[in-house]
Amino acid sequence: MDLSLEESADVNAASGAFSVHLDNFDGPFDLLLQLISRHKMDITEISLSLVTDEFIAFIRSLEASGEGWRLDQATEFLVVAATLLDLKAARLLPSGEVDDEEDLALLEARDILFARLLQYRAFKEIAATFSERIITADKFFPRVVALDPTLSALLPEVLIGVGPQRFAAIAERVLTPKTIPLVSVEHLHLPLVSVAEESRLVVEALRRSKSMSFRNLVSDADNTLVVVARFLALLDLYRQGVLRFDQVVALGELQISWTGSQEGDVEVTDEFDIPVFLVQDEPSEGSANV
């Protein structure tokens, strides 16, 4: 396996694709994904923040080399990384026997995550076969000949079948450039939210009231990003064992109780706060040279 792995890593390095170099894995990103989806590797053993660091370094090196952003790779990385993060979160959450509805719901959620990941991969592979088919089909040249004059003389008078007005309407439709409706992208430019900052606020609030519902904890959040950041902060604090979750019924009120010290510093994660510099007016995927 080591040999084949190195080989494919080399091939990928040559083609300029993104590779990952971890203690327990060294090779192309796509292979990492394959191993995880075939369960040859445990998702919990992969440091996503390290993979992310490497990816950012990869993008930076492309920038430095003058090649610029590889948007196709960046977007692909983001979708796969987001799914892996989902998976990892699901894997890290405590789970016992599948004997009540909550566990079943959790299992279903994982099922969906895997299905999504696999579906994404399936379409990627199908796209490769499309490409091959088009290349093959382009080598076949059809016989396209005009009808022989002796034969066309046999034809009845041609019937255009529409009047001048209808004919003009057809021309208008055909000559109008084909466009599809635009989608607002304003939501992509929300101010950045720091998980570390939100984490401090969460600790403060919990020390103050000992126990509170998640609903109350995020009641003053003015956008979804803040809600997400506080939730990530809670997961991290839970890992440190300074709080407890209680949820009586599935999808019911999530109650959080502080079990940590009343004073002193609580370790605040910076795992989620890797700075990302967005380039304004970057063309969206594929607009350049499709």
Binding site: F123, I134, P142, G286
Partner: protein, 183 residues
């Protein structure tokens, strides 16, 4: 009309047509059952095995094509034969639409995990994808592939698309993965 005459007549017709011809039309013109036409076409194909041309069914109709083995020689004659290549992003988006049609842009976006607006626009402009009505609940525009798409892929109909199943693991495999997760 003997079998041989049916085959020769089909050859004669396909030599003058400017559009692909279906078995049904050939059957009507030659006054033979469609099955007999299908047998004749299948046999004709085998007689061209070692020729510079080939008989193919694309987009529901039959016509003569040059043999792809000799495409280099043909290309010298065909001036605007060069087709521009699709990008990886366009190919992936096209494959989602092909297998999920009719499908809204939002749904394609969800599967691909990225905004597909620009790519969809290109696919529509290139004539590979077209609008196909409105989704009732959401009011979103639905998209499907065109007959030109079939032509470009050399497919006779959408049913000839390769099955998606082999690219997705079977249920047993998925169960195994799920079992290991609950360890």
């Amino acid at each position: 009309m003997s079998n041989l005459e049916v085959e020769r007549s089909i050859e004669a017709i396909l030599m003058v047509v400017d559009e692909p011809v279906s078995e049904v039309i050939l059957a009507q013109v030659l006054e033979k059952p469609v099955e007999e036409i299908e047998i004749a076409l299948a046999h004709l194909i085998t007689t061209y095995d070692d020729r510079g041309f080939a008989l193919r069914k694309v987009n529901g109709g039959w016509r003569f094509y040059s043999n792809p083995d000799y495409h280099a020689a043909v290309e010298k004659f065909v001036l605007d034969g060069q087709q521009s290549r699709l990008t990886q992003a366009a190919l992936e988006t096209l494959s989602v639409i092909a297998y999920r049609q009719p499908v809204s842009r939002a749904r394609v976006s969800a599967i691909r995990g990225v905004n597909v607006e620009a790519v969809m626009k290109t696919l529509v402009t290139r004539g590979l994808v077209e609008e196909s009505g409105i989704e009732h609940e959401s009011g979103a525009i639905l998209y499907k592939t065109t007959s030109y798409f079939l032509e470009r892929l050399g497919l006779s109909s959408l049913e000839d698309l390769p099955a998606l199943a082999p690219y997705l693991p079977n249920l047993d495999g998925l169960d195994e993965i799920l079992d290991s997760l609950t360890d």
